[in-house]
């Protein structure tokens, strides 16, 4: 039984890490209807810029964080200006493809600047078991995972407050509801988009630091987007809460399935299990857990 809980808790904590990436997707989709495939590349971009600054200029953590944040905001604003604005009113799939083009662009650019080397990233949080839990329950809960989960939770709370209390947040929700209506009451659509992309850049930076600390900052960071996709369809593309809840569900089921189901079918099922699980759920509820129900009219 201890083992079961160990896997379960480990899965939930891993799920939070997936949510962190999924959050970036949700923000952008909600505000601009773009399925931003470049989110993974943005995570890599942010993490590599951060370590690159630290390695090459030897600056402190907070300076590197501030500069990288500035870079991500500049990136968000220029994406809005150069990519999204000319493509406004194009079909969704065209925008989706544009973000894949953006993926190549970002991956190439950041490696051109900082090189292809793999960098370790030390946040000063030990990735070792918490002793008290280990002693009392014989369970391994990683200190790092726990802190990462706290940070992710904090991030969601801040974003939730931001969206519900501030003026920008209200404008953003209006845009998400109806572009046309928002425009006609005088909400500056372009500014809102630039802000959303910048916020997504910030989320990418946090996710990049968390994931980069675990696996080293390397190209494979772009793959974590693939972990976030099942979370997205399960939670609904346009729900922040959905991203969190679905992340927990996906994380837990995926790990439990690998441990308890995997051995019977040869293992390694994590790669697709989350997708199949999300798929089966969608058959029951096509708009995901918290997605908005779409009503078709002729």
């Amino acid at each position: 039984m201890t083992f079961f809980f160990e896997v379960l808790i480990g899965g939930l904590l891993a799920g939070v890490m997936y949510s962190l990436v999924a959050l970036g997707f949700v923000l952008i989709y909600k505000a601009s209807g773009v399925f931003n495939f470049a989110q993974g590349a943005m995570v890599f971009f942010a993490a590599l810029t951060f370590v690159g600054l630290q390695e090459h200029f030897g600056i402190s953590f907070w300076w590197a964080f501030a500069i990288t944040l500035g870079v991500m905001i500049a990136l968000g604003v220029s994406i809005e200006r150069v990519v999204l604005r000319p493509l406004v009113n194009q079909p969704q799939i065209t925008l989706f493809m544009a973000t894949i083009g953006l993926t190549f662009f970002l991956e190439g650019l950041v490696q051109m600047v900082w090189g292809t080397n793999v960098y370790p990233l030390n946040l000063g949080i030990g990735d070792d078991p918490i002793e008290s839990v280990l002693e009392n329950f014989d369970m391994i809960i990683s200190r790092f995972d726990l802190i990462a989960a706290l940070i992710a939770g904090l991030l969601v709370a801040v974003l939730a407050v931001f969206f519900h209390v501030t003026k920008i947040g209200r404008a953003l929700r209006a845009v998400a509801d109806d572009h046309q209506a928002a425009l006609s009451v005088g909400i500056p659509l372009k500014t809102i988009w630039a802000i959303v992309w910048s916020v997504a850049g910030f989320v990418a930076l946090v996710a990049g630091l968390m994931w980069g600390a675990r696996t080293g900052v390397q190209f494979a960071l772009t793959f974590i987007a693939l972990k976030a996709l099942p979370v997205l369809i399960l939670g609904g593309f346009d729900s922040v809460l959905g991203a969190i809840v679905a992340g927990l569900i996906i994380g837990a089921t995926e790990k439990l399935a690998e441990v308890y189901l995997g051995p019977y079918v040869g293992g390694g099922i994590e790669g697709w299990f989350a997708y199949v699980a999300a798929l089966l759920f969608l058959l029951v509820r096509p708009e995901g857990l918290f997605g908005e129900k779409h009503i078709d009219r002729v």
């Binding site: 490696q111 292809t116 370790p120 080293g216 900052v217 390397q218 441990v259 390694g268 099922i269 790669g271």
Partner: protein, 439 residues
């Protein structure tokens, strides 16, 4: 629209100009085609290997003025570790000069398999240092493929024998628990038959746990390892999977000095990404030693880097850079061997193939070349395209890889038997009559 038209016109013009413009290769040089990769998930690994490879070619030109006076020229084509792109590169490099691309080092199992049928037709040898088709060690069935130094089966057998040694004898393995944690792909499945045979023979308990690509999440796998409490873990990973495995081992408190990786899981890239401290104590089977304490490395620094023409100083002396250096040396020596028979001029693929098959690098020669103990001695023959089969274990001490054993091998008979069986089956499938090639 205007831009678009111009772009399209440029495209059409470039295509219309007939073939893609060949960068001028110096006439009379030994042209070496390089299918490399520096982009993508394995870009860091490729960059280290191919930088070393090219640095050695530069060294031969700078220090010796080429091979017996025949200067080297080369061109690198980016494959992105992608099979289709690799084939395009191969086809492009193949036609660059009259003598062909010398010998191709695909550095990717996928590309190796893609070229397997093409190389014999084009008469271009493939050199696969520690990857690719294992049974190609039988040169009678695969005359054009050279898995020189060692292959996966030799590695697996070597790892078992190393673990045996650590335990104080192979007989002590009885009843021990060993877990193989592997990349869930063709590559990761390579060691299964050998490990299974060894488990049966020595009576240890083998458990194999796959990690789905790309392997950046291994929580469930390592929790299983924690539950099973094995004595040893063998790591068969590539890319980000290695760092994640080391990190996860730390997280569940599995001792790193009970973990042995293969040579694609044993470079600075892996240990440093996991955090240098997290990896301390970790062993890996190696094809070559790391470090700068070799005369050849000093020569490269003196003749290439001091003149400002080197690739990337940070990579010098790393495991993969040294491997690139060794790979280039093997190509160069094969050309030299061929020249002794065919004359001092640029060698064709067929002649280089003969050179590879008759490659004999003993310790004296290694010392003369400045490699010393970086790689084992090599003696290739038609029956044995592997030429060595030895591995050497290195241990990560928190800063660098240090040798932790002598050159050693596992159960050579077992591996040899399996190679012959597998090659014979391939020969039957493909209708090949196994025979040694004369020239």
């Amino acid at each position: 629209m205007k831009h678009l038209k111009r772009l399209l016109m440029a495209l059409v013009a470039a295509i219309g100009c007939g073939a893609l413009p060949a960068s001028a290769q110096e006439a009379g040089t030994q042209f070496i085609g390089i299918t490399g990769y520096r982009v993508g998930p394995y870009g860091a690994n490729g960059a280290a290997f191919f930088t070393g490879f090219i640095d050695y070619l530069k060294l031969v030109n700078e220090r010796d003025g080429g091979i017996n006076g025949v200067r080297l020229s080369w061109e690198e084509c980016e494959t992105e570790y992608n099979t289709a792109k690799g084939l395009e590169c191969y086809e492009r490099l193949k036609t660059r000069t009259a003598t062909g691309p010398t010998a191709i080092h695909p550095m990717s199992t996928g590309i190796t398999y893609g070229l397997l049928d093409k190389a014999p037709v084009d008469r271009i040898p493939l050199v696969t240092l520690g990857y690719g088709r294992t049974d190609a060690a039988d040169g009678r069935v695969f005359p054009w493929v050279f898995p020189i130094l060692s292959n996966y089966w030799s590695a697996a057998a070597g790892i078992v024998s190393f673990i045996g040694k650590q335990e104080g004898g192979l007989d002590k393995l009885k009843g021990k628990k060993i877990v193989l944690i592997y990349h869930d792909s063709a590559y990761g499945k390579e060691p299964h038959p050998v490990l299974e045979a060894e488990a049966k023979k020595h009576g240890f308990d083998l458990r194999m746990i796959p990690v789905p690509h790309p392997g950046n999440e291994q929580q469930s796998q390592w929790l299983q390892i924690r539950r099973d409490r094995p004595d040893w873990v063998i790591l068969w990973g590539w890319g980000v999977m290695n760092a994640t495995a080391l990190r996860s081992a730390q997280r569940i408190g599995f001792p790193r000095n009970r973990m042995v990786g293969n040579w694609w899981a044993g470079s600075e890239i892996d240990t440093e990404a996991a955090g240098p401290a997290a990896s301390t104590g970790y062993y890996a089977a190696s094809l070559n030693l790391a470090g700068k304490d070799f005369r050849v490395v000093k020569d490269v620094e003196k003749h290439v880097y001091a003149k400002g023409t080197g690739g990337d100083r940070n990579l010098v002396g790393t495991v993969l850079w040294n491997r690139g250096l060794s790979a280039a040396m093997i190509t160069v020596e094969a050309v030299r061997t061929a020249q002794a028979r065919y004359g001092k001029k640029p060698m064709t693929g067929a002649q280089v193939r003969w050179g590879l098959e008759n490659l004999d690098i003993d310790q004296k020669r290694l010392d003369a070349l400045g490699f010393g103990s970086m790689i084992p001695t090599l003696k290739v023959s038609c029956e044995d395209h592997e030429g060595s089969g030895l591995v050497r274990f290195q241990q990560w001490d928190g800063k660098r890889w240090k040798p932790a054993s002598d050159w050693m091998s596992g159960d050579r008979e077992l591996v040899r038997k399996m190679v012959l069986e597998s090659a014979a089956q391939y020969a039957k499938e493909k209708g090949i009559k196994p025979a040694c090639m004369k020239d």
